[in-house]
Amino acid sequence: MSLVNFAAREITCKIVYYGPGRSGKTTNLQYIFGRVPESRRGRMVSLATHTDRTLFFDFLPLDLGSISGFATKFQLYTVPGQSYYASTRRLVLQGADGVVFVADSQARRLDDNVESLQDMQANLLEQGVDVRQLPVVFQYNKQDLPGDLILTQAELDDALNFRAVPSLAADALHGGGVFETLKAISESVLRRLAAGGPVG
């Protein structure tokens, strides 16, 4: 991973929010956007291909300033959830340092979650990324919905999180769990910097 540039003293983290359509990825980014001081964030943008077709994904750059002497930047992306944007998803996923999988907690969306997770793994595999090595965090969104409509965190863990990576309950619309998720994935990514294992 070319996460750290020692010569330029820069750390850049690319974090991708993945998940089925309408699970709340963009909501996550919008909430973060709203909470970050203006001086620290870039514009939330969408990018276009050379054929001028808009690629439907969000991009939010965050400038965390100088931390321990390193200019630290985070780039947050979402992928379009709808199944027909497969190529865009692959494009966005390229070079990701960490992935947040935003699952829709509603019981009726379970199959969509599973499908999207399989799609993510297939895309990573295609890019030669070892899923076991890439930092991944699960966010079970919409936990604020009535209990009879949604699955609990434990049930979703059973269904999706078979590698037992960190998972968090969230209510992105109201901001619950959004920053916790961002923290969790950031820590996972940063801890991989000295992957050789910390001393002591």
Partner: protein, 658 residues
Amino acid sequence: MTPPLNPYFRFDTMVVGTANRLAVTAARAVAETPGAVYNPLFVYAKPGLGKTHLLMAIGHGAKAIDPAITVEYLTLDHFIEAFHAAIASGQGEAYRKRFADVALLLVDDVQFLSGQRETQAELLRIVDAMQTASRQIVLTSDRPPSEIEALDERLIRRFAGGLVIDISPPDYETKVAILRRKAEERRVTLAPGVLEAVARLGLDNVRELVGALNRLIAHQAAGDEVPADRVEAVLGGGAAAPVPAPAAAGEPAGASRPAEAAAPPADEFGDFLSEISATLHQQIEAWRGKVAAAILRWEGEGYRTARLEALLEGELARDPEEALREFEADVRKLDVLRTEAERAAPDLAGSPVFRDPANVAAAEELLEQAREGAHPPPAPSPLWRLDAVVETAGNRVAVQAAQAVLAEPGEKYNPLVLVGGSGVGKTHLLHGIGNALAGRGLRVACLGTEEFTSELIEAIDRDAVAQWRKRYRRADALLLDDVHLVAEKSRSQDELFLLFNHFLEHGRQMVFTSAVALPQLGGVESRLLTRLEGGLVAELPPPDREIRQRVADRLLTEKVPEVDPEVAAYIAGRPAESVRAVQGLVQRVLVAAETQQAKVTAALARAVLEGAPARPARRPSAPRSSGLVAPGNGGVRSREKMVWDWPGIGERLIEEWR
């Protein structure tokens, strides 16, 4: 398996206050004289008060005093894990022995002993063994021994028998001192009074204290300096609202985990930023720690680590992992060079050049010099001196050419090729020239062609042709005997051709001898042959009577000071194709005289060489008055033609005669 000591955790990086003064003093005493005082030393304290720091400081302290001391640090987790693994693989005994050589054993977090009966028994055994052998053991725990649940009574007594000491939470002054030191380490300046305000917050755990400082630093990095009176507000009530930990799995035990807040805190981004800052700082510290550990390690092994130290001073201006890998690769390279240099010149073993990975080139150069010193090209044999060469009309051209070569090496006759049959004195002349040149301080390579070829083959075999070439190229003169033997050896011819050009180009003298006249020399490439012919070809004819007489005379007078000149005259009169044959004749006469204890006279010589009535020295069974012997097959030969001594007969026997 055993975690290394964190290089940061030393006595000098520990802030000492009233709360931990006693513990630090005891720890210092233990580090200075392990096994002599307070054995075992048991330190307990609440989490985050510096137990591990103190434990590792003891290790560093002891190592600083005696670098050879064996220190082992492990957490009880490691201890248990290794113990279980050892038992599972039937290596329980080996596990016990593992601690037999440890002079200072540091065990962290022994509170986890509760309920571990097997491990307790094992630890008891180790404590007893170490105490008996006056070896030191230090343990830490978050509670006193008596409060560790279900801890073996005997262990409690053992611990009590040493020193059990606690570290209490730091007082206000110590907290300020700790905060100051941490802020200095991070190179941050906070507004006056801020550190004091943090210290007043009521955070007892040093880790929490540092966490609070991290958040302030993050706020400051974000652009808003926090004045002292806003510290409490920024930190959200201080102790009451600890820094929220991420809900990530794998967090170290002991970190508090807040329940999900119903309402999001006011400054979520600020929180996030301070968390990230702390994590990143940890990572960078981990790198620095790694580099520092590497420095300690390589320094311990005697290598210069300036390069790594520069990395630390330069604030990690490049990838430390990569730098460490490169450093290690250079150390390996130095090891290889040193091993080879040791073989070439044992006195080089301790050279500091082989300990500086920053300057591998110097080590390579030194090795090159060692190789040169250890394997100079073969020198001329001191037996053959030029002044012993007898100059006569027959060999005058060759001898004078040799003189000319000595007068202007590499200038006049280059190469000089001496041609003549076997035993006419080519080799003598060649080595004579070599010795004379060497006497002037020139590096002379003087050897036979066969040796030249076999060295080349060996170099090819060792994949060291380049070095072999260099070795000859360094010589100032190349003297090659029997160059005709290079025939049909194309690789030798190639190498000789290259050398030839090198020597010619640099105006260095070459002398060759050949038993075959150059035009008759088959199997040699014309490019080499024409080059040999391009110098001076001087012939050495078979010895004439004059040479024979002078050689015989010289050899005789060397052995028998007052010899009848007639003897030499007689010997010179005998047929001999080469100087070597003349030497043989003289030798036989001398041996006969010695065995018969007779004087060396012409009569004796005649008797020996032509057959005399007197008993011959070595063949008492074959006397013939005519001087002729009649071999069994009826042929008649002069005894002079008989071979008296078979050289190395053992090698010539093909089949044993039964």
